[in-house]
């Protein structure tokens, strides 16, 4: 019983509501948003400390005991993701202050941002499947609104696709929940795990598991990623950043949680299917990233590759590989946010997102250029930047598994190949956009970068720390992986004596 657990969910919701009341005062909304996110971040970091000191923390809402009431659970994975999410959203908020424009600010940009973050945090915290659904919906509804704010033509046409596909996947989610309840009679994740362990993972349960897998894959852009590139490409930079950094990661989190805590009995079916999907995702994402001449599309396809790589690492399913996957997941949150911010800044400067319209920007924007290079190298996994530790763990464990199961060799090869594609696609931006003849003099630029660089620096610093300071972080990540791989820890914490 630990009341602090609810804070990351509660603070943004309350602040969002409060902002709705004071709709006229944008300045007030700005201050409150920042305050709320700072508090959330503080709570998240405190939770990380608490979990590492005292184990998994739970909160039973309304005092109902676990399998019956609503329960919030925070283990190390959730706590780390909360912390990373709040860091990213703070940076994103700072970015939005300068770039989002009064038009969107007036139409409740800040409150919906808060709801979005509340939804994301809720997904990380919740201990039962139905609340996961609810939090998904909170997050998605907020994202629908953010997506259609402003309402330019491409935004609307891509927005509709995004909304329709997500609504359908939510419906499928609901259907899966219905089936699961029909078969097992509970929706509490820990309880589900126990029931399945008791009756064995029958064929029917596996089928439901696969249905859930498809649902989460849709959310995570794992193989079923079709909605992502177009939608992310049409968004204003600040919103694209928060989407890229958080939304797909929630899907990945759900996959990790469900398929390690609940459906872990038949890995040769579910996990192998996931591995195949992950490998295909990396490949397709890589192809997409290589071919596009529009920097927003390149960035969007990079999100897809990242998803594939994390999930592939996770499916290797050894302690070290899962550690690597979590490490890479959080790296991906930080660095994808950075990448989208930088891309957004470039677009603001140039006024176009086509590579052919830009050249020689490094003369007037050296800092931006170097930050971009750092982010490109980090995403490629060049040590000692943030991507390295996760990447090397995943590859090493993939190779170990490859000795048993040859398919994993292919996975590793595709993983390395897709990393090369990441490098190629991002270096292309750097070489063509920043180098070359300087065509754009400062007074011809479409917008200025004042205040936009600060959040980028913040994230770069976080990224460098995430790689260079790996020794400090590693125990936490390892603990997250350990609790993920041993469902008993989680179940024991949630259900306690009820078992």
């Amino acid at each position: 019983m630990y009341n602090l657990v609810v804070l990351p969910l509660l603070i943004p919701v309350l602040c969002g509501l409060l902002m709705g009341i004071f709709r006229k005062s944008i300045a007030f909304q700005k201050c409150l948003s920042l305050l709320s996110l700072l508090l959330t971040g503080a709570a998240a970091f405190y939770l990380v400390q608490q979990v590492s000191a005292r184990g998994i923390q739970i909160l039973e809402l309304g005092g109902w005991q676990a399998p019956f009431g609503i329960v919030l659970v925070v283990d190390m994975l959730a706590a780390l993701l909360l912390a990373a999410a709040s860091l990213v959203s703070i940076a994103c908020l700072l970015f939005a202050f300068k770039s989002i424009g009064p038009e969107r600010e007036k139409y409740y940009f800040y409150p919906f941002l808060q709801f979005l973050i509340a939804g994301v945090n809720g997904c990380f915290l919740t201990g039962d499947l139905f609340n996961l659904y609810v939090c998904f919906e909170v997050m998605l509804v907020a994202s629908y609104v953010l997506l259609s704010l402003g309402g330019s033509k491409p935004q609307l046409s891509e927005g509709i696709k995004y909304v329709v596909i997500n609504v359908i996947s939510s419906t499928l989610f609901l259907i899966a929940i219905g089936y699961l309840y029909g078969v097992l009679g509970t929706l509490n994740m820990a309880h589900l795990s126990l029931r399945i362990a008791a009756i064995g993972q029958t064929g029917l349960v596996s089928v439901i598991a696969i249905l859930l897998l498809i649902v989460f894959s849709l959310k995570a852009a794992l193989f079923l990623y079709f909605w992502l590139p177009g939608a992310y490409g049409a968004l204003p930079p600040a919103i694209a950043t928060i989407f890229a950094a958080l939304l797909t990661k929630v899907g990945i989190y759900a996959i990790m949680r469900m398929f390690s805590l609940v459906f872990y009995h038949q890995p040769q079916i579910t996990h192998d299917l996931l591995a195949v999907m992950a490998v295909l995702t990396m490949l397709i994402g890589g192809i997409g990233a290589v071919v596009h001449g529009d920097i927003r599309n390149i960035a969007a396809y990079n999100v897809v590759i990242g998803v594939g790589f994390v999930v592939f690492g996770w499916t290797v399913f050894t302690p070290a590989a899962v550690t690597g996957a979590i490490y890479y997941l959080i790296h991906d949150m930080l660095m994808k946010a950075l990448l989208f911010m930088l891309v957004g800044t470039i677009i603001i400067i140039v006024g176009s997102s086509k590579l052919r319209d830009m050249s020689g920007m490094i003369t007037h924007h050296p800092l931006l250029g170097w930050l971009f290079l750092i982010s490109a190298l980090a995403l490629t996994g060049i040590p000692p930047l943030s991507g390295f530790v996760g990447k090397y763990l995943i590859i090493q464990e993939g190779l170990t598994r490859g000795a048993v199961h040859t398919g994993y060799y292919i996975g590793v090869a595709v993983g390395l190949l897709s990393t090369l594609m990441i490098l190629y696609s991002l270096i292309k931006i750097f070489v063509r956009g920043f180098w070359g003849e300087t065509t754009l003099s400062p007074d011809m630029e479409k917008g200025n970068t004042r205040g936009l660089i600060l959040p980028c620096i913040l994230l770069t610093a976080a990224g460098v720390f995430w790689g260079g300071g790996a020794e400090l972080i590693y125990p936490y990540v390892e603990m997250a992986a350990a609790s993920l791989l041993d469902p008993a820890i989680y179940i024991g914490a949630v259900l306690g004596e009820v078992i």
Partner: protein
């Protein structure tokens, strides 16, 4: 009854999917509503039908139906309502801005 309900739900799903796969935005929205109805029916069927009294704590009833699926459906109904409304507004806005209602014409800038 459960069997009958399952068949009905299956047919509803089929209809919903067919509608969603059409090209007109309005039909897609209708399809989504149909799918949502199907899902709700499914959950209540899965929760077990008519096994007891109304789940309100009263003296006389000996058994209740499972209240949890009802809670789920309640939430789902509300969410679905919100989303349907939102989609309709979005469709309206899209129509206003782009002048089309056909998804094939909404392919985006890269695909014309």
């Amino acid at each position: 009854m459960e069997t009958l309900m399952s068949v009905i739900v299956g047919i509803i799903f089929a209809i919903g999917v067919y509608l969603v796969l059409s090209n007109s935005l309005l039909r897609i929205i209708l399809g989504i509503s149909v799918l949502a109805h199907g899902a709700n029916l499914l959950i209540i069927t899965m929760g077990g039908l008519k096994k007891g009294g109304v789940p309100i704590l009263r003296e006389e009833a000996a058994a209740y139906t499972d209240p949890l699926p009802q809670a789920l459906i309640l939430t789902a109904i509300v969410i679905n309502f919100a989303i349907t409304a939102f989609l309709l507004v979005l469709a309206y806005r899209a129509y206003q801005t782009t002048g089309v209602d056909d998804m094939d014409d909404l392919r985006g800038p890269d695909h014309v």
